[in-house]
Symmetry: C2
Subunit: 176 residues, 2 copies
């Protein structure tokens, strides 16, 4: 039901190309990479080599009293495996401390160290710096609008965020 253009039709390459070849997605990946590369470079300049925006996000979801890895994963919207890796790396840097949860011996409680807080403060400053550059290029109100538009889209398409996830088009009714 989706196959419109019949194989017999003579298709004009140029006229198709004129409709705009650039897609939104094609713009986003390089920009995402640029943002992260800039952030990592600035982190390194401040003495936090080897850390990424994912590590920053982890701090952004950490409670003062400490947080379990699963909770962090859920809040970050990633898997617990990946979150566990971030935790391990941050611990090697001395930026967090892990302690076993006394109420559940399977669980690990993650808390920030003073050095970790220092990193997080630097990371927030770096974020502001880069977003400042973005605003200088595209205008402050455009960046603000970009932000809210991306947030709307991201929440609308969150079902598609994982790589090999469900296909919401086909599993509407599982009845008899």
């Amino acid at each position: 039901m989706a196959n419109q253009t019949p194989p017999q039709a003579k298709i004009n390459l140029k006229s198709l190309q004129q409709q705009g070849t650039q897609s939104l997605a094609r713009l986003m990946l390089p920009l995402y990479r640029a943002f992260n590369a800039m952030a990592q470079e600035k982190y390194a300049q401040r003495g936090h080599a080897g850390l990424t925006t994912a590590h920053t996000l982890l701090f952004g979801n950490l409670d003062e009293e400490g947080t379990r890895i699963v909770s962090l994963a859920e809040r970050m919207g990633t898997t617990k495996q990946f979150t566990g890796r971030l935790v391990h790396q941050l611990e090697e840097h001395g930026y967090i401390r892990t302690t076993p949860d006394p109420s559940d011996r399977r669980a690990t409680i993650v808390t920030a160290t003073p050095e970790g807080l220092h990193f997080f403060a630097d990371a927030c400053a770096v974020k502001d710096e880069i977003e400042g550059q973005f605003k200088a290029i595209a205008g402050e109100e455009n960046i603000a609008l970009l932000f809210t538009t991306l947030e709307k889209l991201a929440s609308a398409f969150s079902a598609y965020e994982s790589v090999g996830s469900a296909h919401p088009l086909g599993d509407d009714s599982e009845g008899t």
Copy 2:
């Protein structure tokens, strides 16, 4: 010169978190993935399983008379190695034809087959469909603005697009 927050300072986690933990980059990767996942699913529904938006981009840069792999790479903003891989995959699908350049025996000329044009037409339709969904969620003029803003940013930070590229901060003047 970049190290502002002194290690001695008592840093408040919560107040840092309130400044907004979500960054633009963190929004873009999931959205990019969502877009691509949707596109690939729709490609498959139209009988083009295994192809991606990168393949579509290649068609978007193909001349009617045929184009060399290096030229395609340059236009697409990728490496010739990656472009060569796309060409190989498209050829396996029968969507392009490669012929040696009579004027330069090192070079390969890539031309679209009728089946390839059919794929490109489908891919353009898919792009329109998905962008239509985007517009339904965020509003047509917001998506248009998103597009132009992303384009501005992408072209401004193109130096950072590649993974391990130069750092534009230090090479401003190349002397006498």
